[in-house]
Each structure stands twice: as C-alpha cells, then as structure tokens.
C-alpha cells in the first residue's frame, strides 16, 4: 500500500482546495482558525482565542469538537477542509459544535472529492447554538466527473433563545452522485433558522433533501429554502418541513426546482403545520423548466448548449 508522507498529503489537499476555489492564504495565515482533514487524518488544526477545535482520529474518519466560548466574536471566518483524494474510501466526520451564549462565528467548509469513483462522505453533526449566539455555516462541495460518490450530511441543530443559525449547502461542481441531506433545526424563543440548499444534478445523480425546522419558542422564525437544477437523468426529491409550535412563530418553505430536458425528475414535498393560533407558516414550491429562450440566447452568442445551460444554472444558484 502506498502511504504518502504527511507533507505530500497536505500539499495534495491544499492544491485541490485551491482548485476548488478555496482561499489558500487563509489556510496559511496564523490568525485564521482552520481544520484540514484528509481521509481520517488531521493535517492541520488551529484554533484562535476563544475558539477550540479538538479532534480524534477514528478508523473511518475524525471526531471533531468545535467550541466557541461564551461571548467570543471570531473576527475572521474559520476554514474547514474535508477531502478524500483517492478514488475509493470512506470518510465519516462526527462533529459536535458548541457555540456558547453570545458568541459569533462564521465557518466556511470545502468538501473535496475530485477523483471519487467509490467514495462515501458522511457527516453527523450535533450542533448547539447558545442564547443570542450567531453561527453562519457555508459548505461547498467539489466532486469529480465520475459521480461515484455518496454524500450523507446529517445535522441536528438546537438554537437557543435569540440565537441565529444560517447555513448554505452548495453542490454544483462535478457530479453529485448520491446525496442524502438531512438537516433538522429546533428553535427556541426568538431564535432564527435559515437553511439554504443549492444543487445542480446531472448524469444519473440521485438527490434527497430534507430541511426540517421546528419553531418551538415564541416568536421563532424559520426559512427553509432550496434551489435545484436537474439535467440528464438526474432525480431529486426535496422535502421542506416547518412546524409552528409556538405563539407568533413565523416560517416559510421556499423550493424551486428547474428541469432541463425531458428525462430528469423533480419532486417537491412541502409540509407546513401550525399548532398555535398566532403562528404562521407559508410555503411556495415551484417546478419548472429552464427557459429555452435563455439557452438559445447564449447559443446564438457561440456557446454550446451545455455551456449555455451551465451559465444559466450558475445564475439561478447564485441568487
């Protein structure tokens, strides 16, 4: 079996990270907190004042304890990089997040699997957002063109009184493979949850999305938003669920799926439920197709059909 040295491995993942649009300078900077994991090995791990990242390598991945101490406002975004460069492998990240009261942090994660032929990437996250704490999480995936990957991100998020959880999950580079995304958020009084998912499925991608928000505290607010574009034989099922269980809770489920061609299949299942008079939860779900005239406009400027669809999809997923 080939074992590269840690240094070589680090170089490899950093170069993939950069190709994937990651900010290499951030990873080199001393005052930026970061965590770089390749397969089940921690290649870099730096906290900053008030932010601790503890890790433990397991057979198939890494356990991560991510703690933002009470009142800490982390000035620069924390960079996470999870990757697997070989064609085959399993990576399980078990993540525990404790964002204590009044803390604030923004986290940018890049998940990189450029060569995947038979790869599984799992994340199980147990996330606690303290009172009036603010946590912003952006996860962007970079997959290869083989589609031999399964991505299974699951998170349970508890948001304390007046806390804010905002997350965006983007997968639009490379084939998705199989995606089973499942995020569930519980909001206490005046807490805010915003879940956003943006996915571009092609080939025979198989996509399942579940965004679930429980508005359990008075005046809690939730938004479950999804934007999907499907080409070729890709199929997607998107469930956006929001439960208004407390007075003056406000929620909205917003799902748009666009289909390009006749073989892709999109399903949207919004579920909204209110158990208290003054709570209000709304939803809009739309399944449509990519506007032919937009595609033709770009083709008339010399783009091939695929390139034209790509430009349009990037636009849709940008907004």
């Amino acid at each position: 079996m080939i074992r590269y040295s840690v240094e070589e491995e680090y170089k490899g993942i950093i170069s993939a990270y950069e190709k994937a649009g990651g900010d290499k300078r951030a990873l080199q900077s001393k005052d930026v907190a970061k965590l770089v994991i390749h397969e089940n090995r921690v290649l870099a791990n730096d906290g900053v004042k008030g932010l601790k990242i503890n890790t433990e390598e397991t057979d198939s991945g890494v356990r991560v304890n991510f703690t933002v101490e009470k009142g800490t406002k982390v000035a620069r975004p924390v960079h996470l990089c999870f990757g697997l460069l070989p064609k085959e492998g399993l990576q399980e990240i078990i993540m525990k997040v404790d964002a204590q009261d009044n803390s604030e942090v923004s986290v940018v994660a890049h998940c990189i699997f450029p060569n995947a032929v038979k790869v599984i990437h799992k994340m199980d996250a147990d996330i606690n957002i303290g009172a009036n704490a603010k946590f912003d999480y952006k996860e962007t995936h970079y997959h290869g063109e083989d589609g031999g990957i399964e991505v299974i991100p699951k998170a349970k998020v508890k948001v304390g009184k007046g806390g804010v959880w905002q997350s965006t999950f983007s997968l639009s580079q490379g084939l998705v493979g199989r995606l089973d995304y499942d995020f569930e958020v519980f909001c206490q009084e005046k807490a805010v949850a915003e879940l956003v998912v943006k996915v571009y499925g092609r080939g025979s991608d198989d996509i399942k999305i579940l965004e679930k928000i429980h508005l359990d505290g008075r005046g809690a607010r939730g938004m479950a938003k999804s934007r999907l574009v499907l080409s070729d034989k890709a199929r997607a099922e998107v469930r956006g669920e929001t439960y208004g269980n407390a007075p003056y809770a406000r929620g909205h489920v917003d799902c748009i799926e666009l289909v390009n061609g006749t073989e892709a299949v999109a399903r949207a299942i919004p579920i909204v439920e209110v158990t208290v008079d003054t709570a209000k939860v709304t939803h809009e779900a739309a399944i449509g197709s990519i506007d032919r005239k937009q595609v033709e406009t770009l083709m008339a400027r010399g783009l091939d059909e695929n390139e034209a669809v790509d430009v349009i999809v990037r636009g849709i997923l940008k907004s």
Binding site: D291, K293, Q294, E296, T297, L298, M299, A300, R301, G302, L303, D304, E305, A308, V311, I312, R314, G315, I316, L317, K318, S319
Partner: protein
C-alpha cells in the same frame, strides 16, 4: 454572404414563409420592412435556427454553405447572431458576464466601449443582472451591445427600435452603423421606414414573401404607399 432561396415554412398547416428569396451582401445593411404578422420574426428564427424552426422547403446559404440544418451554436460559430425582438432575461447573469461571453476577447475596457456605443454608462450597468429590473429599452440596448461585442459576420436584428425611446433611438442606430463599420453585415428587421434610412438596401415582406426590393428611400416610399394603406394584410396585391 447570405442567400435565401425559395424558403418555405409551414406551421400547423399554415404557410408562414412562402417562397422567400433574399440576398444580403458582404458589409451590407439590408433592411426588411414588413407590417406586423408578415413573418419577420419567423424569418429571423429560420436563419438563426432558433425556436426549433427548420424550413419545410428552400435553402439558406451562408458563405456558400447550406446552414439550414445546423444547430444555433454551429451557426453562431460561423459568425451569425441574432438580437431578439424581446430579449430573454437571465437571473444571476451580470451585464459584464453576458458581454464577456459574447466577446471574443473579454477585456473589460472593450466591454465598456460596447456599452458606450449604445449610449449606456458602463459604471451604472456592468454589475447589474440581466433580469426583470432592467427596463425593456435597457435590455434591448444591452442586447445590441452584446451583438457588437461578438463582431459577427452577419447580425440579424429583429425590431431593434421597438421599445426604444426617441432619445435612445439615434444612439442605437449609431450602434448599428458602427457594427457595420466593424465589418458586419446586418439584416435589419423593422416595421418603421425611418429605421431603414441607415440601410443600403431594403426589401418589403408580406405574407412570408419579399414583394419588393431596392434602394432605401424609394422602397420605403413604396412601402408607405402600398403596405401602410393596404386593407388586407398578408394578402399581397403585388
């Protein structure tokens, strides 16, 4: 440059284009004058290959090659492009991106120049999205700028003047003249005789057929006398 011979298109049993003949020379601005519903947009679609239109008869020859079965992209790569009568809006695509992907060398200063040529202040527009927040006239001028950026051999402009106010019209016509000076042939489709003043040659379209063709002034006068007063649109008396 472009030779259209005995072109036919039937849609749902109706003859929309009806034995149409047309020649557009190199570096020529060729005006097509026709009332509403005479087949102007259909002709544009047939030449560009858009809207899935394929002739049911006749030939479309560009630089000696029949292009009637080529895809839109293939025709565009040969140097043909189209500015739509009602251009599409693309959410999340900026003016700058749109013009750069049309342009052969996407240099920012060049792109700014194309906007200036249609009377638009680059600073104000470069980072705007080509979405519903643009007015109809703004969108059409951006469409023209993107055609300019492409330096096409043949630009098909479908009613470039519609939705353009009188202040912007001279700027837009100037853009067409500039395009022609850059070496592009232009098929200038319109229902306004005024616009055809910048053409080198004008053809009159009725019921999917060219019914007269000649020098701009005489031909548009003929159009005024015969078509504007004609009680039976699309039943050519000539």
């Amino acid at each position: 440059m472009l030779v259209v011979e005995n072109l036919q298109l039937k849609l749902n049993g109706n003859s929309i284009i009806n034995g149409l003949d047309l020649h557009v020379g190199k570096a020529e601005i060729h005006g097509i004058l026709g009332e509403n519903g005479t087949g102007k947009t259909t002709l544009a679609n047939l030449i560009m290959g858009t809207n899935n239109y394929r002739p049911t008869g006749g030939r479309i020859i560009f630089e000696g090659e029949d292009i009637a079965e080529l895809s839109i992209s293939e025709r565009a790569k040969k140097g043909i492009t189209l500015a739509w009568q009602e251009p599409a809006r693309v959410e999340g695509l900026t003016v700058k991106d749109y013009l750069s992907l049309s342009s052969k060398n996407g240099r920012a200063d060049q792109i700014e120049r194309y906007l200036l040529m249609v009377g638009m202040e680059p600073k104000q527009y470069m980072d705007r999205d080509i979405d519903a927040t643009l007015s109809g006239g703004e969108r059409k001028r951006i469409e023209m700028a993107s055609v300019l950026a492409m330096h096409p051999k043949l630009a098909i402009l479908d009613e470039p003047d519609s939705g353009i106010d009188i202040v912007a019209l001279p700027l837009l016509l100037n853009g067409i003249i500039e395009m022609n000076k850059q070496g592009s042939s232009v098929l200038l489709i319109t229902h306004s005789e005024q616009v055809t003043e910048i053409a080198h040659r004008v053809s009159v379209l009725c019921a999917g057929k060219i019914i007269n063709s000649g020098a701009p002034l005489e031909t548009s006068q003929w159009f005024k006398n015969n078509c504007l007063t004609c009680p039976h649109i699309n039943e050519p008396a000539h």
